[in-house]
């Protein structure tokens, strides 16, 4: 689009783009928040604050910490590319992806136990699998997006002047963490 446009439009694109991108991303987050709110309220409406006894609390705390750590490394990778530290960017993004995979593995492990203790046919199980499943879907898409920016960053894209894709992806990763902040107590602690 922009390439073929006359000069006036090129000017318009340059001034508007970053701001539009950022606003669009935050609107998307707002929308996502409503999706998660719908699912979390479904959990409280159907099963109150009940939690079964067989929950693997240490594992849940563990993956919570892992996700928190991945948020830090994501923060550090954005910070690195913003200061043209490409090596740091690649290192921290790799760590983030690794921690994301560890989190996913933790979820898989947890589901195997959970399937035996409270299958999906129980009301807590319904909420548990739906909510964690929704979150895990976001984790997996986040890992894919991180993989794309890692690949492109490694090929020399992005720099302190233009790192919007990194910023957007990292913000998305923080959103995943943000939702877990609410989901974790909703399912395990309350």
């Amino acid at each position: 689009m922009a390439l073929a446009a006359p000069a006036a439009h090129a000017r318009a694109e340059a001034t508007y783009r970053p701001q539009a991108n950022r606003l669009g991303l935050w609107l998307f987050f707002l929308s996502e928040t409503f999706l998660f709110s719908a699912m979390i309220s479904a959990r409280f409406v159907t099963s109150g604050t009940d939690t079964p006894e067989h929950l693997n609390q240490p594992l849940a705390l563990g993956i919570t910490i892992v996700l928190l750590l991945s948020s830090i490394s994501a923060y550090l990778s954005e910070n690195a590319i913003a200061h043209d530290d490409r090596a740091g960017f690649i290192r921290y993004t790799r760590i983030t992806i690794f921690l994301g995979l560890v989190f996913t593995a933790g979820v898989v492990l947890e589901w195997q136990e959970a399937l035996a203790d409270f299958p999906a046919g129980t009301i807590y199980g319904s909420a548990f699998f739906a909510l964690i499943g929704l979150h895990a879907f976001h984790v997996v898409t986040g890992i894919m997006a991180l993989g794309v920016v890692l690949n492109l960053g490694g090929k020399g894209h992005y720099g302190s002047e233009d790192y919007w894709p990194v910023e957007g992806t990292v913000k998305y990763w923080h959103l995943v963490d943000l939702m877990w902040v609410v989901i974790y107590p909703s399912l395990y602690l309350f």
């Binding site: 923060y75 959103l175 602690l189 309350f190």
Partner: protein, 78 residues
């Protein structure tokens, strides 16, 4: 994007190291809050009311320091 932030803040201070330190401090705070949450949940029956402040605090910390939420409000209109 960086230039925008510099326009907003009078002092061009945020060097990489300072931002790293800020991020680590926030992360440490989040970790501590999470652990307190866990301890409360293990110790108290029906801890909903006690946990809510922690959830809100963690939510706000991530939103502000990791996702720079206030930046989007500050640059809302043009």
């Amino acid at each position: 994007m960086d230039t925008d932030e510099q326009l907003e803040r009078p002092v061009p201070s945020s060097t990489q190291q300072e931002k790293v330190r800020l991020g680590l401090i926030v992360a440490a705070a989040l970790a501590v809050l999470t652990l307190i949450e866990y301890v409360i949940a293990v110790g108290i029956d029906d801890p909903l009311i006690w946990l809510l402040p922690f959830v809100i605090a963690k939510f706000a910390l991530i939103l502000e320091y990791f996702m720079h939420f206030s930046a989007v409000l500050g640059k809302g209109d043009h």
